[in-house]
Every structure is written in structure tokens, then in C-alpha cells.
């Protein structure tokens, strides 16, 4: 391993370059980052494994980086050793907030674009965010080794967006390593050195914190002014708490304790705090004695955009779910939750997420890392519902929807930017219209790609919009969205009744025009998923007291196996034992046994049925409104 000359805490700011990499998912950011680690010599060739920086299993499997990581990388340019602080950022739309935290810790951003694909909507939005943070942008095309790469075309596109010459766009291949050394040289040349005051009282920004089961909370910081020393009491200015640091250090590429961290450096602090509220992202760390007077400007708090209930399939796992959420919260500041009780699903938590992917990742981590079996209810956005008596209800859960007459419902809106090849403009317009989108402007970002702007209800995007966008554009379109105020809308709550009993877990707030199709499809789905029982089971969908759809599960007449002779007895006994175990996993709704699978499948999204029967029933339901 290369010996580093510049030691943490003793590195002049003029030798430091802090940068992040902005890239769309799959555009090869992790491969380029791995290549940088390898070229710098801090990861020996034989220890190199793919995607060194993506530590969590899920990240490796999904190929996405969820948590930012900050690595100290030495790079010699023109005979001088520089210290690069490389901050890895997530590329998915749900993690915009984390990107903004990473950006605030850097002076430069590498804009990494796949030379076979061109820039995508989310990358564009992160690029604009970087420009807003006054970062120096280094444009790079990746994957130039691929035969389908079109570097000239995409260099033109990028140049048009950031106002440089196409020849300024670097060309690299993370796979072969071509051009990566030039990229590092360019970073040294172009990215400004940090401009903090090394002699001022210490100020460090917390831009991330991770829960490590051995070390407790690891807090990632960017030193702005002054120095922090090991064994010096720290003060968190925002929450006003003082801690003894257990360790301070840098990541290069493993955690390495150091004596100090100086102005401009990126590193970590472990305080032994067990509670994430003691290590709040956006807070400023200073020294307990002779500390700074003014904190650094904070970050924006993440706002949950999507809510859903998470319930353990086995209600006895409720305390474990609570502990698991507490632990996840330690390295996922954006996750919020509060206890919720459902008649159908028992005790669980109402959780707020940044988006659908965030929700998926949280449920997956809960199941994988904590061994929990969970049901999640359909995702919901926050509504503001005003009753006739002018009381305002904040509804993040259909069960909070007030009874009686409603004066007004306001729903959150988003501004959605979609980049698509021009041949799919019509398909995208149809899709957005189906989802109550109002078209804004549309511009060509190159000869054959357009960026389309829509204003849409968030609720329309959180369900299956993204999947449909991908399928209607053969996977070519990309989507980015951000909050864009709110708007009143004609929404209704649709309840589902099984044998006359309302099942809270299936209630949904939908637009009046979609209420009928929701009701018809849900009742049909449940008819297929709930096994026949000894009695007839009506399944209805209702708006208030008005039934809009109905299906019937006929009574079970026969369940017996015809034969049971000498050779069948063991098999039959085992089958009955299995059925018995299956029944234990059923929820009793009134007298009706509903398998867990019915909840999971009924709540999962999916293409709406387009069969004749469904369409006829939806038409019939609409007629009843008359």
C-alpha cells in the first residue's frame, strides 16, 4: 500500500480537493470510484472487489448506493501529493436529500454520464442542484469502451447543458481504467481548494451518520474551520449536547483513527452516542471549550413524501419491529414512524418514506437484517382534508379520513421532469394525462431527446407510474420530480367490506374517476385470493355507504381428498399438518379467514386488469352514480 505523505490533521487546505460524483443509476459511478481507489494505491489490487464502497448487501445486489461514503484518496500531480476527499452519492430520485448533503460537503462535482445513454432526468436535477451549490462541474462520459457508445453526440448534449465546449468533456472507461488518471489530474486542477479558516474555532458539518453494530453511531463530517482533536470534548451546536469523542479518523478506504482533523478535511467521529438524535445530520460540531459562536448553515430536513403501514405478519414480532426501526433510523435519517393499530393487521407502524424505492429498501432491510416477516399497506401521500365544520385533518392514512361531508381536499403536487427519446413523446403524454398530469413546457435537449415538464399529483406517481413509464418507453425514459405545492382535488375514500365488515387495511383515497376501477379490481382480486369457506362471503367496495362494486366468494362444498389407502396416510397427514400451519398464519376478519398472501398480493401494485369482465363491471359501477 502506498505511504501517504499528507497526514490527517496536518494537511494544508491548498492540497485538498473535495468532490462528489453525480451519476444516474447504472451509469457506472461505483466502477469509476473503485478504479480511483485502485489507481491511488490505497486498495491493493488483490483486495479489490467490485464496488468496494457499497457496503450493504442490498446495495451490492441492487447496484445502487444508498449511503454516502467519504473516502480519503492520495493523488500525486506534478510531483505534489494532493488529498482528494471523494464523497459517493446516491443516484436515485428518492435520495435527493442525501445528494444535497453530499454536495454541501464538496467544492466540485464530477458529472458522470453513460456514453451509450446520455444524461437522465435525475442526473440533470442533481446537476442543477450542484450548480446551485456553486460547485465546479467536471463533465465525464463513461463506458467509452462499449461499441454502442456515442461520445460525440452526448458530449454535445452535456456541453449544451453546462455551457462548456464538447472537447472539455472527459472520456473514461471505469471498466478498463482508460482516462481515469486524467480525470484525477483534472480534479486537482479544476476543483477549488477548501477556503475555511484553519485558525478559527472548529466548525464541522455533519453530512451523514451510520449505525454500526460494533462501533455505535459513526458520524461523517466535513471540517470547515479550525481543527478537531482526539480526546477533546465535542459540542453539537444544534442540539446543545457535549460528548467525549471515542475516536476521530478518516476512511482510506477502511476506518483509520487519527489524532486530528483539520480545516477542509473529510472524516468521521465516533462519540459513543447510541441515539441518532444525538448526531443530527445538518448539525455543526465544534469544540466544547473555546467553541465557535455561530453554527454553519444547516441542511433542509427530509420530508416524507410517501406513507405506508408496516405490520409484522406475526404480531408477536411487534417489539422486534420497533427495535429494528429504531436501529434503521440510526443510519437513515429520512425514515420516520409512529405506532399504528389496524383492525385487520394488528399492531404496526405508520412510516414515512422519501419515495417508493426508499420504502422498498426499508422493508427489505427489516426483513433481511432483522429477520422480520412484514406486510406493508398501500402507499399513501399526505392529504389535508377540511370537513364541513371547517376542521382540518392531516391524513396520512385512509383510516384518518373524516366521516361525513367533506368541504375540501388538498393533495401534494410535484413537478415532474421526464427525459425521453422523441418517438415516445405521445406515449408519455398519454401516460401523464391518465395520471392527472398538466403539461408544462417541453424542450429538445438534443436532436432526438426531449425533456417534458408536468405538474402532477404526487399520489399518481407513488403507485406504479415509474414502472409504466419504463414499460411504455422501452426503458428509455427517465423521471425526476420534486415537490411543487398542493392543489385541491375531487378525491374519495373507497372502503372494502368483507362480509359487511370494513377492512381498514384495504381502504384507499383515490380520485373519484378512479374509485370505480379501484373498487372493481380490489374486489375481484380478493375474490381470487381468499379461499372459499363454509359460507358465502360477499366482498364489496363502497364510497361512504354507497356500494360501488361487489363480488361473491361462493361457499366451499368439497375439500376432501378422494383416496386414502395404506400408501397415502403419511402424505395425507403431512398435508393436513401443513394446512393447519397455514391456517395459523391466517387473519380472522369477522368469521372469514384471510391468508396473509391475500393482503400482500392485494396491496401490491400491478397492471390493472384489462379483461372484458373488469371493464364491464367498472362501467356498471360508474353508471350507478348516474
Amino acid at each position: 500500500m502506498a505511504t501517504q505523505h499528507n497526514q490527517p490533521g496536518f494537511t494544508d487546505q491548498s492540497l485538498i480537493r473535495n468532490f462528489c460524483i453525480i451519476a444516474h443509476i447504472d451509469h457506472g459511478k461505483s466502477t469509476v470510484a473503485d478504479r480511483i481507489l485502485q489507481l491511488s494505491g490505497i486498495v491493493p489490487e488483490r483486495e479489490m472487489r467490485d464496488r468496494f464502497l457499497d457496503r450493504m448487501d442490498i446495495e451490492q445486489e441492487r447496484g445502487i448506493t444508498i449511503k454516502s461514503q467519504a473516502v480519503r484518496v492520495p493523488w500525486t500531480f506534478d510531483g505534489t501529493e494532493y488529498t482528494l476527499g471523494m464523497i459517493d452519492t446516491p443516484g436515485h430520485v428518492d435520495f435527493t436529500y442525501e445528494v444535497s448533503r453530499a454536495l454541501a460537503a464538496c467544492e466540485g462535482a464530477v458529472l458522470l454520464v453513460d456514453a451509450t445513454q446520455g444524461i437522465e432526468a435525475q442526473t440533470l436535477s442533481n446537476l442543477y442542484m450542484a450548480i446551485d451549490h456553486d460547485l465546479t462541474i467536471i463533465p465525464v462520459l463513461n463506458k467509452i469502451d462499449l461499441p454502442s457508445a456515442e461520445p460525440d453526440k452526448h458530449a454535445e448534449e452535456i456541453a449544451g447543458l453546462i455551457g462548456c465546449e464538447p472537447s472539455d468533456v472527459l472520456r473514461v472507461s471505469g471498466k478498463t481504467g482508460e482516462g481515469v488518471a486524467d480525470l484525477l489530474d483534472q480534479i486537482v486542477m479544476d476543483v477549488p481548494a477548501p477556503q475555511g479558516d484553519p485558525d478559527a474555532p472548529a466548525r464541522a458539518l455533519i453530512f451523514d451518520s451510520v449505525y454500526d453494530s460494533y462501533r455505535g453511531i459513526v458520524t461523517y463530517i466535513r471540517m470547515v474551520d479550525g481543527e478537531l482533536h482526539a480526546r477533546e470534548k465535542l459540542h453539537m451546536m444544534g442540539i446543545g449536547m457535549t460528548h467525549d469523542p471515542i475516536e476521530i479518523g478518516v476512511i482510506s478506504p477502511e476506518m483509520t483513527p487519527t489524532k486530528a482533523l483539520g480545516a477542509g478535511e473529510v472524516g468521521y467521529v465516533i462519540t459513543g452516542a447510541k441515539d441518532v438524535s444525538q448526531s443530527k445530520v445538518g448539525d455543526t460540531i465544534t469544540t466544547a471549550s473555546k467553541g465557535a459562536a455561530e453554527p454553519l448553515p444547516g441542511y433542509r430536513d427530509p420530508q416524507p413524501m410517501v406513507y405506508a403501514g408496516l405490520f409484522p405478519i406475526d404480531n408477536a414480532q411487534y417489539p422486534e419491529l420497533r427495535d429494528a426501526l429504531d436501529k434503521l433510523k440510526l443510519n437513515d435519517a429520512a425514515l420516520i414512524y409512529e405506532p399504528e393499530t389496524s383492525v385487520a393487521l394488528g399492531f404496526g407502524f405508520r412510516c414515512g418514506f422519501l419515495g417508493l424505492l426508499h420504502m422498498e429498501i426499508v422493508s427489505e432491510r427489516l426483513e433481511r437484517e432483522f429477520g422480520l416477516d412484514l406486510i406493508s399497506t398501500a402507499p399513501n401521500v399526505p392529504y389535508e382534508v377540511t370537513g364541513e365544520d371547517n376542521t382540518v385533518h392531516h391524513v396520512t392514512n385512509p383510516s384518518e379520513f373524516p366521516e361525513g361531508k367533506i368541504k375540501r381536499i388538498v393533495e401534494p403536487m410535484v413537478a415532474a421532469d421526464i427525459i425521453t427519446p422523441k418517438e415516445f413523446i405521445g406515449a408519455v403524454m398519454d401516460l401523464c394525462q391518465d395520471h392527472r398530469g398538466q403539461m408544462g413546457t417541453m424542450e429538445y435537449i438534443s436532436a432526438d431527446r426531449v425533456e417534458m415538464h408536468y405538474r402532477m399529483p404526487l399520489a399518481e406517481i407513488v403507485f406504479d407510474f415509474f414502472d409504466q413509464l419504463k414499460s411504455r418507453t422501452k426503458g428509455y425514459a427517465s423521471l425526476d420530480y420534486h415537490e411543487d405545492g398542493e392543489q385541491s382535488a375531487d378525491l374519495v375514500k373507497v372502503d372494502i367490506l368483507i362480509q359487511g365488515e370494513k377492512v381498514d387495511a384495504f381502504s384507499a383515497i383515490v380520485h373519484r374517476d378512479k374509485a370505480y376501477s379501484y373498487g372493481v379490481m380490489m374486489t375481484k382480486k380478493l375474490r381470487e385470493l381468499i379461499p372459499r369457506q363454509q359460507f358465502e362471503i360477499p366482498i364489496q367496495a363502497a364510497i361512504g355507504s354507497r356500494i360501488i362494486a361487489r363480488e361473491t366468494i361462493r361457499a366451499l362444498r368439497k375439500d376432501v381428498l378422494a383416496k386414502c389407502y395404506g400408501g397415502d396416510i403419511t402424505r395425507k397427514r403431512k398435508l393436513l399438518e401443513k394446512q393447519k400451519a397455514g391456517k395459523k398464519r391466517m387473519k380472522m376478519l369477522g368469521h372469514v379467514e384471510v391468508p396473509q398472501e391475500a393482503f400482500i398480493a392485494a396491496l401490491s401494485t400491478g397492471e390493472g386488469a384489462n379483461d372484458r369482465d373488469t371493464k364491464d363491471k367498472i362501467r356498471a359501477a360508474q353508471k350507478t352514480e348516474g
Binding site: 372459499r532 363454509q534 361462493r554 366451499l556 362444498r557 368439497k558 375439500d559 376432501v560 381428498l561 378422494a562 383416496k563 386414502c564 389407502y565 395404506g566 400408501g567 396416510i569 403419511t570 395425507k572 397427514r573 393436513l576 399438518e577 394446512q579 393447519k580 391456517k583
Partner: protein, 390 residues
Amino acid sequence: MSFEVYIHVPFCLRRCGYCDFNTYTATDLGGGASRGNYAAMAIREMRLVRGWQERHGVAEPPASTVFFGGGTPTILPAADLVAMLDAVRDLWGVEDGAEITTEANPDTVDAAYIDALAAGGFTRVSFGMQSAVPHVLRTLDRTHTPANVEAGVRAADAAGLRSSVDLIYGAPGESLDDWRTSVEAAIGLGVDHCSAYALTVEPATTMGRRIAAGLLPKPDDDDEAAKYEIADALFSAAGLRWYEISNWARPGFESRHNLGYWRNVDWAGIGPGAHSHYAAAGPEPAAGLRAWDVAHPRTWGRRIAAGEVPWADSERISGAESLEETIMLGLRLREGLDLAALPARPDETGIAALEREGLVERRGDRLAPTLRGRLLNDTVIERMFDICGL
């Protein structure tokens, strides 16, 4: 406790599309396993089993029944079946008046064959009739015609053997009238015993694959329930009374061998894939043993040639499992489950609820399913498991 012997003959002329039994259509399976030496091998297995019983202190009375099933036992020469029966007689003895049955494919028997069986001591023939309707027989891949069945039954009558016929309902394309025709034809044969089975489609069969591919409609539970009710009504009117879910007989003509399975007696199963049961052969007094032979005739033959009892595996039946089996088997029978014989008196309120729902009838200490309880037998069994704290 009585003792029964089951002998499996794993050969058929052709495999029917719905069949997932352990049976083979080749005449020679290599390694010394063939139709030609099958009887000899089965007899060698009987000796090995007898030896095992002796070594394990399992003393069985003479066999009260012997049953040849398949496959198609009658694909073998009648002399082979008789030789196997003689071996049972030599090794265990056979009770006076024992019930000796073979299953028969109507295509493979004639009067001479039946006479040979009768002379060898057989008392009963169970014909695989399946249906009296040609298009249903075709769907089931059966090669016989309804006329063959009639001829077989008449030959059995002439030889003084009792006859039973098997029917299958619920084949794709079978109407309610088709089924009525089949039941009436079976009754018209004048037999004293009839079995009627709902077609069970196993995924790994030709029919299972054709249904999965959408080439054939899936059997419908409601249709099968209606057909069950038709069968029960027609058989009852003809004096054939149900005594087990899928079996009807004139009183006194029930299959004693099959009743043995449902009453949890001991039996030795001979032949590839055959199961054996010994209620009290476990290391603890209460634990039973169930063992089953390896499935393929080649491996089976090799094991026997090596002087081993050719079991593939076995299980010890625990107290709870034994109770489960007693409940699940007893509730299939008209005589019903003997509540007094259970290790603990079951909860009466649970039983009262089953009665109230019309699923069971209580006669003294016996609990038997009603017509509805026969069709919803799994529900009744599961409820009874609950009631007995299983």
C-alpha cells in the same frame, strides 16, 4: 390387532394420463427386474420381511386379508398371483374365510384367468371400470370398453368371486348426465361393492401438464361435489350403503382389507413403493412404525438380491401423529371415530358445534361425518385436530 398383506404389482400395459402411481410399462427394467421374475422377487421380499418381523419381536396373527394392487396385477399370469398368495400362506398363514382380492383391468382378464384365481384361493376382484361413457374413457386414456367390464364381472360371478368396480368422476368434459350413466351402469352390473373417486390431477402427469397448459379444463370442486351427491343418492337407492367416503357396499360386502387401513391395523406391504405399518413396533410401546419400499423395481430387486429388506425409508409415528391419523382415518368412516378410544376425552362444546353445523353425527361414543361432512372432510378433520388440542 389383525394383520394384512398388500402386494403391489408395478406394471401396466400403458400409463393413463391421470395416473401418478408407481407403475412401469416396460416388460424388462434391467438388472434382473422384469415382469417375468416379479413373483419370485416378491416372494423373496416376503421372506426378508418375515425375518425382520422375527428379529424385531413383531408377532403377527395369520393374515385376515391379502390384496393385490397396482399397476395392473392381472398383467401377470394368474399362476404368479397364486404363487405369491401361496407364499403368504406359507410365511404367515391366512385366516379361514380371509378376503383375498386382486385389482383387475377389464382388458387383461378372461374367464379362464378368473377361474385360475378362484382355484388358487382368491375371493374377490376389483375391476377398474372408471366410466361407462366412451368419451370419458378416452379422456382417461382407458383402453377397455364397457362390455369388457360386464364380461369380467360375469366371469367372477360364475367362479363364485365377489366383484367390485371402481369409478372416477370429474374427468374434463364429463357432464352430470355422463356421470349418472356411469353410476347406473355400475349398479346395473349387480355388483355388491363400488368405489367412486374424484379425479385428482397430479401436476407431474400428462393430464396435469395438459391442464397447466390450458389444453384441458381443470376439474371443478363444485362439479365434483354435485357428482358425489349423485353417486351417493343412486348407490343408496340401489342398496349400496356408504361405509367410507369413496366406498359403497351392500352390508356385509365392505372391503375388509381397506377397512383395515382406516382402522389402523398392521400390514406388510410387498413390492416397489409399497407401505408397511406396524402399530406397536417402535422402541417405545406407543410409537408405531411406517416404512416404504424403494420405488423403482430395479433398485428394489437389487436390494432384495443383496438380502436386505428393500425399504427406502421409514418413520416413527409419535403419539400426536398417531392421534392425528386415528382422527383423520376414523372420520372417513360410517362407523366413525371412536371418541372413547382417544387418549383424552375431547372438548364437548367443539363437537357440539360440528354437529350444529351439520358436519357430523354423534352415535354414542362414535362421531361420523354427515353427507356434508364427507364432502368437507378436511374441514371436519382440522376442526377435530383443534378440538383434541393438536
